[in-house]
Symmetry: C2
Amino acid sequence: MEPLVSFLTITAMPPSLGDNTADLDRLRRAVAEHLGGIEPRVAWSRVAPVAAAFRAAGFAGTAVVNHLTAGIELVDFLPGKAAGPVVMALDLGTTHLEATLLDLGSGAQLAREHQENSQICFGADILSRIHHAATPGGLTALHGAVLADINELARRLAGAAGIASAAIRALSVAGNTAMIHFLLHLDPHHLIREPYIPMVNVVEPPAAVELGLAIHPAAPVWVLPSVGSYFGGDLVAGVLACGMVQEEAVTMLIDVGTNAEVIVGNRDWLMACAGAAGPALEGGVARMGMRADPGAIDHVEYDPGAATFQYTTIGGEKPRGLCGSGVIDLAAALYLGRIIDLKGKFRPAAAGTRLVDSPDGPAFVVASAGEAADGRPVLFAQVDLDAVMRSKAAMYAILATLVNQVGVKFADLAKIYVAGAFGRHINPRQAITLGMLPDLPLATYQPVGNSSLAGAELVLRDGEARRVARELVRKITYLELNVNQEFMLRFSGSRFIPHTDHRLFPSVPFFKDS
Amino acid sequence: MEPLVSFLTITAMPPSLGDNTADLDRLRRAVAEHLGGIEPRVAWSRVAPVAAAFRAAGFAGTAVVNHLTAGIELVDFLPGKAAGPVVMALDLGTTHLEATLLDLGSGAQLAREHQENSQICFGADILSRIHHAATPGGLTALHGAVLADINELARRLAGAAGIASAAIRALSVAGNTAMIHFLLHLDPHHLIREPYIPMVNVVEPPAAVELGLAIHPAAPVWVLPSVGSYFGGDLVAGVLACGMVQEEAVTMLIDVGTNAEVIVGNRDWLMACAGAAGPALEGGVARMGMRADPGAIDHVEYDPGAATFQYTTIGGEKPRGLCGSGVIDLAAALYLGRIIDLKGKFRPAAAGTRLVDSPDGPAFVVASAGEAADGRPVLFAQVDLDAVMRSKAAMYAILATLVNQVGVKFADLAKIYVAGAFGRHINPRQAITLGMLPDLPLATYQPVGNSSLAGAELVLRDGEARRVARELVRKITYLELNVNQEFMLRFSGSRFIPHTDHRLFPSVPFFKDS
């Protein structure tokens, strides 16, 4: 468990005529005794501050060393015995940043903060930001926005923990390939142009001061490596965090964001692919869709006895809209209640008065105007349902194509890790009913939370995780779905509930007459 | 012969859907094929320029790599096949800087330039500059002066070679420990205070851009390591250049600058010391002393038959003063002509009319007013002679103490390398006559020119030299003379011509009656 930064307690003999070793060489020698004889490197910019601090402390105190792939770096010296080191892990998302502050000494999490990605003013999605990067000053503005967000998070994390931002000794960052290009001020132009080439996948950690981050100047910024334009360090972090690279059994990781990104494999091999299955499942397509915030309908159930629909909202507040899990639950409940048919179309006769005309066309009243938070009914329109059908079809087709490519069956998967808000809120039972996820025992599905952030934390704590992360880049085979004929066929077959071939979903009621 | 910088000819396959490796990772992979599979590191600041240059060049051209102790760094990419790399070696002297421009591809020296150290405005000697460094802004001013001098030399070298300064791909620097502290903006305070401790002896090469040097921003600045406050990288360079660390035979290197610095040893061991023997020998003490410039009397001989003195001047010009070798020759000639006694005092009866009264007391007329360049006679006063006697005594005492400490005899020395202007101009015969250098066959003495600069060139050309330089620092034992009782005794015994024990100098006439 070699942390990215460690504190070493040093007591050196003061210099004398009999031992006139230079200050910094003396410290290096003392540090080497802790490191099995390996002398740490010291960058020129750290020579003066470290040597001066060592002398000022009376040649005894705490040495700060970074454990990098290229070797061990001595970066600071503190008087006395210091607590920590305190470090920061960051999930650098397209819409949202989430970060934690850890004490690598005690292992404790000291604080957790999140905020919107302020790049949104340059474009809500990655594509428009990449276009913005090509305008004069565009890349610098995008880069500046990332730095400002990180500095703000660092300030708030440090404030919450009662320390100075400058006491943050390392930062790890998990982000998609484009976000990492923005962070590192690298031109993202070719990321979105065939054959989709990043400038770099594996970078040496710059020091915070080089990037312009307001944490400790010598803090290494350890960026999770990416595999390609469409497989970033956020997913590498997820793979690390769920532990699938350590397992002999074949498992799968599903991360639904803007895209659905899926990895299957074990400690010997890994294959990954991604596809546009996400927006509807994140509440991003439905007209009444919303993030999983208070007031979002997150669960819907159909009671066959009473032939009624029950819902719950996040925070128990009056409903304001539907989040991703609510959308999936609702679609499944509508199917089970036979309000929609197996093509995902409303059956007006069955829906009765709950089907109304809306500006978006026919829509199902999930919550009436009287129940809703703002006096407007929560509606779910046919167009929303159509989007869900496309998304669920894409998701199942992605999963089926991927496992088929690697020659395993769904039943061979020991676990399916489901990351992010999608994993946290979704009910696999309803997703199976829809035919979005394969019909496996529910215990197969395991939510893993923000696995990008968890992976970012892991590389701060563990040198083996950093080594594996760099290896993963060579180990992961990426399956390009855009040009994949099998995927297109499977997508077509998945546009029914639960599937054209209903025998694939034995646990789902099949209504022959729908 | 691994040079510090090398150019590698690269032809990579362009990216495709079948091989979507990131640009920089693709280049690293191609470079690794030249390096036995070792992938070079790329600092964050070089990622964007190198990746962009590689793509712009059509994935083929010349990769620029630095071979550093910490590993191989990829720093640039040039289209097509480039000549070079061109690099700069610098002897960073207290009074004088001397530099060469080398083409590591062809091995040719492209240019050579020198200039005064512009720090002289802050103090002529190192001690006063170290005191100046302690004043507000003092260190920064001294640092800035070094940078300005190096930039000016780089500009002139590049101009002479018809290239841009930015095409200089590396710089090596040999300088004394204080000058290196000024170059690296390190506080020199403790260099001159017991127990005389440098901030650092061995530094990682900073990139030129970090230091603020106007050569290629990624050029490594390879600083010859120092052994201690009084044994700098200039001497380490000298030891490398004369080759004594490769030899089985025991040899000695003498470098006379402000101090006389002496190293004795072979490939297995090295011992060094330094003492204040220099100024008189560099023309720095004699009233008529001058640098070895045109018009300096550089050689004086006594013709016993005619009982006359003959001199030559540098450039054959009319005499203006005496340089170091002239002073030594003159003192020896005065002894052989019996104008001075074995204590180094004028014998007025023997000197006759050539001994005159001067503002500095009794003085010997070396060149009359009529012969001299500016109508003023070139005089050599008793006080000058006293200084020469102290210097020569110190020099012999240093050499004798050092060889005795390591348990060898002068006769065991296979070679005595004599560096610098002192080595180039001095006549060992006359130095032996004075009792300054031991009475050995003249062929033992070998001038080695500017061995600091030669050593600086060597580390640019040869990785083994760089490795040896870093090892030397641990290998050299430094003998502190300030606290050495034996040195003081030997110094007293050396204050006669040639020595109290004249049997040590069988080749020197001994005048019993002096």
